[in-house]
Amino acid sequence: MNNMNIIILAIINGFVLSSMYAIASLGLTLQWGVLKVLNFSHGLFMTWGAYIAYWIIAVHGGSYLIALPSAIITSFFMGFLLYYLVIGPLQERSKTEIVSNVFIGTLAVSIILENLVLIIFGGRYKGISTIVPGFTNILGAQVSNQQILLIFLGPLCFGVLFYFLSRTRLGMAVRAVAQDNVGAAIVGIDSKKVFAFTVSIGSCLAGLAGVLLGAYYYLSPQMGSSPLITALFVLVLGGMGSVKGTILASYIIGFIDAFSRFYIGNFWADPILFAIFILVILFRPQGLYGVK
């Protein structure tokens, strides 16, 4: 029976991790798919989302109903600034060394954002209250209601994003620019605005992921760095820029992560993931869904 319990807990944990990985990496996928740049400050956008929620909930006594929207909206505007101040000019001005320039540029942004978090909130670890309190008993295993909420939030985000991309005019413009920048310009789409909007939407998702991470684990200025690495991994496995692939990949990674933590031990989970990461890049760089 005890063994059974562990399996159920591992499965539930796998669903929770997958869901969070999905939310954390969807934004990154969108940004890569449309702009063809990798945003290494994505992790710090998660940190900022979490700290804004902390500021509203723990400092001002607000609820998640206020904290969640305000974290998302702030992230939206920060993403806007990120595009117009950093990524856009870098894309425009650098010719051959765009990979290294955007890499350093976004790393510099994350240095700034981490430093600001440290100055404003301090370096001590912090926690916020859970989103929904209480526990539920599933087949003899104690599962918190928050975990159940998290399990459903990932697919929900995917659904909303998918609907947005496939049904709305703005979403279609985003897809058009991702497919062919020049062609989109010919039919009258301002690709710069779409770029800025995409970076902002990606940042929104990062902010949301940050709030969830903060509620599930704890808050620290460095909290965004390990989800960022996982998000990069999910991005590659799913096929750079494919939203469907990202979802599938995040569930695969989430379950590998959860089960290897239960059965092989906490330490070896990360090296196993990195080794798979290298193998995927070597033998299937287009990932599950992407085009090479």
């Binding site: 060394e97 350093i104 540029g105 700034i112 430093n115 090296p271």
Partner: protein, 334 residues
């Protein structure tokens, strides 16, 4: 005697005189900073062979550097070898590392290569944290000074360290200069500028890139070992983002694919960072802002300022010459 500022020997001489004249200040702290700058610029110069001249952007240079420091530390502290053996082993381990990592990662291009080397860095970090009896885990290794001919080289013995770091930097510069002037260097540059054309002229891209990778690694390993012995410690924090950003930014901000760009970049970065010390907590933010603004305003690196200045004076000279020609013509006609 005519002095040609394009002559490599004269450029080296100018740098040497400038560096050694700072010793006259007799300021221990400035000497320490310059030694660090020279180590960083040696690493960035080596990195430039691959990322600047061959056009392969990767971040495996930091693992080479840290591996050099760790292997020297393990050999001298845990196994009791003399430090010279440690330094030689650092060069060897960096070479082996570069062959292994290069053979795997050079099969892919662009952002994938960057991500593979990022994963290598993370795997190395987890191995350092796992094999605690060898690496001391989070505490890092405390390294003894390098002993050469009864001379102890570490941070409490500034002049020999200064000379050692200077030799490392000059060796890297000479290595790059020799490579770039050779046929191999031409192959590297042609791969960067047009891979298709290079292949059509009979250059094997994989083997050539691997050669660049291997050539750039061994001095980096020695730099890492010296860095460890000089500071007296090496630990997992040396695999962190801050050292990576310093090294990468000195190369990119200085100027990718230029001989003296990385040197200029590392000196400017380290000394600007010191200059902003009064800002205390805000310092990393200012540092980040500087990185971004330099990247946007000077996409070809800091060294391009000198190029611009030179072409401007050249243009002025031409203008004066043209004016002289015009005047003489007028005089003839008149």
């Amino acid at each position: 005697m005519k002095i040609d500022i394009d002559d490599f020997k004269i450029q080296l001489l100018v740098i040497t005189v400038l560096l050694f004249s700072t010793l006259l200040l007799r300021d221990v702290y400035i000497t320490h900073l310059i030694i660090l700058c020279m180590i960083y610029s040696a690493v960035a110069t080596n990195w430039n062979i691959v990322s600047g001249y061959t056009g392969v952007m990767h971040i495996a240079q930091q693992p080479f550097f840290v591996a050099g420091g760790y292997i020297s530390g393990i050999l001298t502290v845990k196994l009791g070898f003399p430090s010279i053996i440690g330094i030689l082993a650092a060069a060897c381990i960096a070479l082996l590392f570069s062959i292994a990592i290069g053979a795997i990662s050079l099969r892919v291009k662009g952002i994938y290569l960057l991500l593979i080397t990022l994963a290598v860095r993370l795997i190395m970090l987890s191995f350092i944290l796992y094999f605690i009896e060898w690496t001391n885990g989070d505490t890092g290794i405390l390294l003894p000074p390098i002993e050469v001919l009864g001379l102890k080289i570490n941070q409490f013995n500034a002049i020999p360290s200064f000379v050692f770091a200077y030799l490392l930097m000059v060796a890297s510069l000479i290595l790059v200069k020799v490579i770039v002037d050779s046929k191999l260097g031409l192959a590297f540059i042609s791969l960067r500028d047009s891979e298709v054309y290079a292949i059509s002229r009979g250059i094997n891209p994989y083997r050539t890139k691997l050669t660049a990778f291997v050539l750039s690694s061994w001095l980096t390993g020695i730099c890492g070992a010296f860095y460890g012995h000089y500071l007296g410690t090496i630990g997992p924090w040396d695999l962190g983002w801050s050292l990576l950003v310093t090294l990468l930014a000195s190369m990119v901000l200085g100027g990718l694919g230029t001989l003296f760009g990385p040197v200029l970049g590392s000196f400017v970065l380290v000394f600007l960072n010191e200059y902003f010390r009064p800002l205390q907590l805000l310092r990393p933010s200012i540092y980040g802002l500087l990185l971004i603004s330099t990247l946007i305003l000077l996409p070809n690196g800091l060294i391009s300022i000198f190029e611009k200045l030179r072409t401007r004076t050249h243009d002025n000279l031409l203008k004066i010459k043209g004016f002289a020609v015009k005047v003489s013509k007028n005089e003839k006609n008149g």
